[in-house]
């Protein structure tokens, strides 16, 4: 292979989407969530998936991680078809991800230190002082230095989300999935979380997928915004393109105007 061919091959690999959902169908008890969904996520970019509650945003994250299986269609992670992999085979793939759950999902039987250290202890053979160093570093990244010995029940909602973020980045994952990271938080705390997401993106250069219905958060953290509606994608573009979309369904959502029924005005 020539140098030029090698460059092309490397560039192609880098441009290959890290996650692909191909013709995915999913329903729960007759309620169709996805109908032939096709969606790709680029590397080292922050993609925000928008949509009203119940549209299947969280389901999409769980499909990517293999926590749920699609009824039809395929899911690829870095070129590997993960659709039919067993739980055991999915384990090494999942270690490449970090997930911040909507309610933080901190293990309430473990203190903050052990929550953050969980994946490290599970997958890496590190000395105790090394584990401690990483835990302190990750907690410092989310402005929670010194909270190692607290228990989840002693934390506020915003602190829980930040510990959840520290836990998600403990293994320096390639992809971080955020499930409604700002939902239920006051505007200032929500903005703090947005700053944390941007900081993680800057410092760790990860691929981020954020599902939310918080437009302020979406505009702030997203490189690309995708909108789901009735099981399909109805808009896909930059924050500016979404803000100025001609689609009335998109405008209703981004403006939060249920009564909007005519075509939007730009800007």
């Amino acid at each position: 292979m020539s140098v030029a061919q090698g460059d092309i091959a490397r560039r192609t690999a880098a441009e290959e989407p890290i996650i692909r959902l191909v013709n995915v169908w999913k329903e729960f008890a007759g309620n169709e969530v996805f109908r032939d969904l096709v969606l790709e996520f680029r590397r080292a970019a922050t993609t925000v998936v928008l949509g009203p509650s119940g549209v299947g945003k969280s389901v999409m994250l769980k499909l990517i991680l293999g926590l749920l299986k699609p009824d039809r269609g395929r899911i690829f992670v870095d070129g590997t078809d993960t659709t039919d992999l067993s739980e055991r085979d999915l384990m090494p793939i999942r270690t490449r991800f970090g997930m911040v759950f909507q309610g933080a999902a901190l293990f309430d039987f473990l203190p903050v230190r052990e929550n953050v250290a969980f994946a490290l202890r599970e997958h890496k053979r590190l000395r105790e002082d090394e584990v401690e160093r990483i835990v302190r570093e990750k907690l410092a990244m989310v402005d929670l230095a010194g909270t190692e010995n607290l228990w989840p029940e002693e934390l506020s909602g915003g602190m829980k989300k930040r510990v959840g973020l520290a836990r998600a980045i403990a293994m320096d994952p390639e992809v971080i999935l955020y499930d409604e990271p700002t939902t239920g938080l006051d505007p200032v705390t929500a903005d703090t979380i947005n700053e944390m997401i941007l900081k993680c993106q800057r410092e760790l250069e990860t691929t981020s997928i954020v599902v939310t219905h918080d437009m302020a958060s979406a505009y702030k953290v997203g490189d690309r915004l995708v909108m789901l509606h009735e099981g399909r994608i109805i808009a896909d573009g930059t924050p500016h393109q979404i803000r100025t979309s001609a689609d009335v369904r998109v405008q209703r959502f981004v403006r939060g105007d249920a009564m909007l029924s005519t075509g939007p005005t730009n800007g």
Binding site: G103, D108, E122, R167
Partner: protein, 271 residues
């Protein structure tokens, strides 16, 4: 056709039950596979040993004591009527070590440990903690079920022995308060109770412990959303464990009687 609906309902119910049994079998097989292939970490096991063993002890002791005392109070008058009051010790103590100790300790643990396991795991499910474990490449059965199974399996024989012991002491104290001769009371007890009786009671309890842990963890993992879902999981865990204990007890007694016959050539005195 009016007949179709009830047939369909029964069919659907039977289908659901078979499907549930299949799921439970897969869950059990996965648990035993992790149990056989992976050393449970002490840091996961220790809190479970404490929760099942130490925290259950007061209730088990109270249960055992009152079972023994009630048996003594009931049986004293029966034996007194035939002039054999000191024989009551044999009945009380055999009943306690062979049946009432293990079964009532098992039922108490089904309520306490089983309900608590199902509620705890159910809450973890609805708050996405189980998904979080899976998302981090950890197996929830390995991390949550195996330590709870080992703890319940290991602790229940000790709890049964405690239950037996306080039952025997409680029975004796009541008999003594009625004026039964102490020497004769213990002598008749020792004549009737064999090591096999104590062993079979404790052995049975290990099966009860395994059933409680598996059923309760399974119900917790299958919990539906919300407070009602978690409450139902805890209730179903108790009821299913309770029924399992009674059914297991019957078949284990038949089996142990067969084993006893095979070794010693006769069945025990009371069972």
């Amino acid at each position: 056709m009016p007949i179709r609906k009830p047939i369909a309902t029964v069919g659907a119910y039977v289908g659901d039950q078979i499907e549930g049994l299949g799921r439970f079998s897969v869950f059990t097989a996965q648990m035993f596979r992790w149990l056989a292939t992976d050393a449970t970490r002490w840091r996961l096991l220790r809190p479970q040993l404490y929760a099942v063993g130490v925290r259950s002890l007061p209730v088990i002791v109270i249960t055992g004591a009152f079972v023994g005392m009630v048996l003594a109070a009931q049986s004293y008058y029966q034996f007194e009527a035939i002039g054999r009051a000191s024989w009551s010790g044999a009945v009380i103590n055999v009943s306690v070590v062979k049946e009432l100790g293990p079964v009532l300790a098992g039922i108490m643990l089904a309520g306490m440990v089983g309900g608590s396991l199902a509620a705890e795991l159910g809450t973890m499910k609805v708050t996405e903690q189980i998904d979080a474990l899976r998302a981090m490449g950890a197996d929830p059965i390995r991390h949550l079920v195996v330590p709870r199974f080992i703890a319940t399996f290991l602790m229940i024989p000790f709890l049964t022995i405690y239950c037996d012991f306080v039952g025997i002491v409680g029975g004796y104290l009541v008999a003594w308060s009625y004026g039964v001769d102490t020497h004769e009371y213990w002598m008749h007890s020792a004549d009737v109770i064999e090591n096999w009786d104590i062993f079979s009671g404790v052995l049975k309890s290990t099966f009860f412990g395994a059933a409680i842990a598996l059923i309760s963890c399974y119900k917790g993992f299958g919990s539906r959303q919300g407070a009602y879902g978690v409450g139902m999981a805890a209730l179903e865990a108790f009821v299913s464990s309770f029924v399992a204990i009674l059914v297991l007890d019957f078949f284990i007694v038949l089996l142990l009687n067969g084993v006893y016959d095979l070794i010693w050539g006769r069945v025990g005195v009371f069972l």
